[in-house]
């Protein structure tokens, strides 16, 4: 029954989206308040119906209703409850439903909280959101229906891919989608501004929190994905330059640029049309991120069911969304005011440089991801673009940006003096210099690069601390008060930039000092590795809830004491697949990573990795996300949303 209810709710949502995509746009053009109000109600109702449909699918999963084809393909009665629930978005159809759900919820959010917006602006934003809703609900219903029944229904389902049965699945996709889809709001605002031909203060105040609200989960989602890949895939990498990773990195890079340019627009009214362009491109790249893997154009570990019909539909949506909005931009942007004035050396100038580098980095990832496709189209030759390419292109462009990050917050708005800026950065410069001098004597060319990277991390960390330090030093006479009155946006900025420093430290540690060893071991044997003594104590078969595993136990004596580790090779009979469960000992100074491989005549193959400082990569990533959240909680950012107007209770409206 739940599948039919879900199906019906989706169809109603599509009809409501149709209303939402027409009524408010026409209403705004004619100044018709009734039509605009209709748009708001449609957005709220659409949110409710999509939520109902999502609930129905989740219910079918939780109750193991194998007469629903999707559930039968991705669930199993022995699958733990949490993963039965998370399996709701573990398939192509289910994840599309989640995507549409988040889109509809954001649309409902604009309708609900947007009372302080100019009515025509809100109506236009909702109208564009409605158009997106129609496109994606249509895609869902016509090419990826999650509610199809099968008859006769099987007694048992096919298990969800065991790689996905992980706490990572519960959080990673929803976080990423919150990010991708979150950028749809700034996209809709951008298109609405182009339709209106003007950008006012309310526009700028609204866009920045929405960008931040998308950026925070996207950052957390990417970080989580990286950590998940690290512990789940069993060979200890944290970033693979896989097309899907790139697809999430591109909107992140450009979204970061948008976050900064929106700040300039909000505070100073400069970079107006550039911000609009960024909003359009960031969402377009988010669409690329979610959908291109599904089109079968790119192959990747993440590829879901690939189907040419879906591919054509997706490419159509992408082409229309991006093409139409860019055409609108080319037509209307020149009529938007040019914005405020500033000197080259100023906060605005700093953000311009930040945007330049972030845009170039995005372009680099784009070229690396799509060149193989284009080259194959041109001459049929297949090439691969792997980590060595990015090491030669992305890294040299990212390093100057990391160096410049510290300058931005030190610059005054509008104009500044080089001498004064340099003076403000004396302390971080001294700290970075000391780190460089201390690290330089060790090692050859690689040592020089490592020392430079360490100094860069120190520069970022000390430079971020300086933001708060200078403020508190100036107000040291009333220290507790000046700490209390520090705007949260400033704290968030410090935490986020310091997170970047920690990330740099982690990357430096693991790229410079990684070591590994592979050998055959039998129970009782010991091996010396990276300053530790590792002994295999036990090797046996164990039975899990839905798998059987060859499990090896180790005792490790290291500089930090003695501990035990467990590593498994699991076999999931119902999914007919094998996973590696690595044994990982995490410390701030470095991780020991142990995975067991195939059995051989001399025992079992054991792979050992030492990953110095690697954990700071993820701590840094989450710190950036937390910094964003602190910034979002700043009262000043809530200006646009603070006033909650009483919203009329949604009335049912005919869906025709």
């Amino acid at each position: 029954m739940s599948a039919e209810v879900g199906q019906f709710a989706l169809i109603l949502a599509l009809l409501l989206a149709l209303v939402q995509s027409v009524a408010p746009l026409v209403g705004a053009q004619r100044g018709d308040g009734v039509l605009m109000a209709l748009g708001r109600q449609a957005a709220l109702l659409q949110g409710m119906f999509v939520a109902l449909a999502f609930g129905c699918l989740a219910y079918a999963y939780l109750t193991c209703d194998f007469s629903v084809a999707l559930v039968a393909q991705h669930s199993h009665t022995t699958q733990p409850v949490a993963y039965r629930f998370a399996a709701t978005w573990g398939s192509h159809e289910g994840s599309m439903l989640l995507w549409v759900l988040i889109l509809a919820l954001y649309g409902g959010g604009v309708a609900f909280f947007g009372g302080t917006l100019r009515e025509t602006l809100q109506a236009r934003v909702l109208g564009i959101q409605g158009v997106l809703g129609v496109a994606f609900l249509g895609f869902l219903i016509f090419t990826s229906n999650p509610f199809l029944r099968i008859s006769p229904s099987p007694i048992e389902g096919t298990e969800l891919n065991p790689l996905l049965q992980d706490p990572g699945l519960v959080l990673h996709p929803p976080l990423l989608y919150l990010g991708y889809v979150g950028f749809s709001v700034s996209f809709c605002f951008a298109v609405a501004a182009l339709i209106e031909g003007r950008v006012d203060a309310a526009w700028a105040r609204w866009v920045r929190p929405w960008v931040l609200a998308a950026w925070i989960p996207l950052t957390a989602g990417i970080t989580l994905g990286s950590a998940w890949a690290y512990y789940e895939l069993g060979w200890g990498g944290w970033w693979f330059w896989d097309p899907v990773e790139n697809a999430s990195l591109m909107p992140w890079l450009l979204g970061t640029a948008l976050l900064h340019s929106a700040l300039v627009l909000e505070r100073r009214g400069a970079l107006v049309s550039w911000t609009i362009l960024l909003a359009i491109l960031t969402f377009s790249l988010s669409l690329v991120g979610t959908f291109l893997v599904r089109s079968g154009i790119l192959t990747s570990v993440h590829a879901f069911a690939v189907d040419p019909q879906r591919g054509v539909f997706i490419l159509g949506i992408l082409a229309v969304t991006t093409g139409a909005s860019l055409a609108l931009y080319a037509w209307r942007a020149p009529s938007i005011r040019a914005g405020a004035l500033f000197q080259p050396l100023s906060r605005e100038g700093g953000v311009t440089l930040n945007n330049l580098f972030l845009a170039v980095l995005t372009a680099t990832v784009f070229l690396g991801t799509f060149s193989p496709v284009f080259i194959e189209m041109i001459n049929g030759d297949k090439i691969s673009v792997g980590p060595p390419y990015y090491a030669l292109t992305f890294a040299p462009l990212a390093i100057p940006l990391l160096f410049l990050v510290v300058f931005g917050p030190m610059l005054n708005w509008k104009r500044d003096e080089l001498r004064k800026t340099a003076a403000r950065l004396k302390v971080p410069a001294i700290i970075a210099g000391v780190v460089l001098a201390a690290a330089l004597p060790f090692g050859g060319l690689k040592g020089v690069m490592t020392a430079g990277a360490l100094a860069l991390s120190a520069w970022l960390l000390a430079g971020s601390a300086t933001i708060l330090g200078r403020r508190w030093w100036a107000g040291r006479a009333y220290l507790s008060r000046s700490i209390r009155t520090t705007p949260r946006a400033l704290v968030g900025l410090t935490v986020a930039h310091a997170g970047l420093g920690l990330l740099t430290l982690g990357i430096t540690g693991t790229t410079s000092w990684d070591s590994d060893k592979v050998l055959n071991m039998r129970p009782g044997q010991s091996v010396e590795f990276a300053g530790r003594t590792l002994t295999m104590t036990n090797y046996e078969m164990v039975q899990g809830p839905n798998y059987e595993a060859r499990q090896a136990r180790f005792t490790v004596k290291g500089p930090t004491g003695t501990y035990s580790l467990r590593s498994e090779k699991r076999w999931h009979p119902s999914a007919q697949s094998q996973t590696t469960e690595a044994g990982i000992h995490v410390t701030p100074l470095g991780n020991l990573y142990v995975s067991v491989g195939e059995e051989s005549a001399q025992g079992v193959v054991v792979r050992l990795w030492d990953h110095p400082l690697i954990v700071w990569i993820w701590i840094g990533g989450f710190a950036m996300s937390i910094g964003g959240a602190i910034s979002l909680s700043d009262r000043r950012l809530r200006v646009g949303a603070a006033l909650k107007l009483p919203t009329p209770a949604p009335q049912p409206i005919p869906a025709e």
């Binding site: 330059w241 680099t364 090692g443 592979v518 792979r607």
Partner: protein, 156 residues
């Protein structure tokens, strides 16, 4: 930290080659094995998605690792060994794409975008600041006020 660094660095050097390579595949000569390892990190496992043959457990990756080590043991230079594998499997196996006429944009695109973007940004900033000098007498608040008034004009 300062005292730890040389220890960590020394350990990194001592640890020697290895990764997904099974112990029985490794070459006896550590110098040759180190070369093989370095090359294998630049070769793609063709049946996997974006994994180097060094990272992959797949049967085909193992075959490629063995072919590579055979060539190196037979006295091939790095380039010869690489060419041998590319001639058999195509440039698809190279994780570092070769520089050819059709990959020029891939390799130099980032720099091109940086230069073009840099020029664009410079022109924009100059445009913003040369006028700024002329009206520099206004402070930030006055400018915002002015902008608001001008904006209001356009609408009204």
């Amino acid at each position: 930290m300062k005292r730890l660094l040389p220890i960590v660095a020394a350990l990194a050097l001592l640890a020697g080659p290895a990764a997904a390579v099974n112990p029985d595949e490794q070459l006896a000569d550590p110098k040759l094995e180190a070369r093989a390892l370095k090359l294998s990190q630049e070769l793609r496992c063709v049946v996997c998605q974006n994994q180097s043959i060094d990272d992959s457990d797949a049967e085909l990756a193992r075959d490629l690792r063995l072919i590579l080590r055979e060539r190196i043991a037979a006295g091939d230079t790095d380039e010869q060994a690489m060419d041998h594998i590319v001639s058999r499997y195509g440039s698809f196996v190279q994780l570092r794409p070769p520089l050819r006429w059709d990959t020029v944009l891939l390799w130099f695109g980032p720099v091109l975008v940086l230069v073009l973007g840099g020029v664009g940004a410079a022109v924009y900033v100059r445009g913003r600041s040369s006028t700024a000098a002329a009206v520099g007498a206004l402070n930030a608040d006055e400018e915002a006020e002015l902008a608001r008034m001008l904006d209001g004009d356009k609408v009204g």
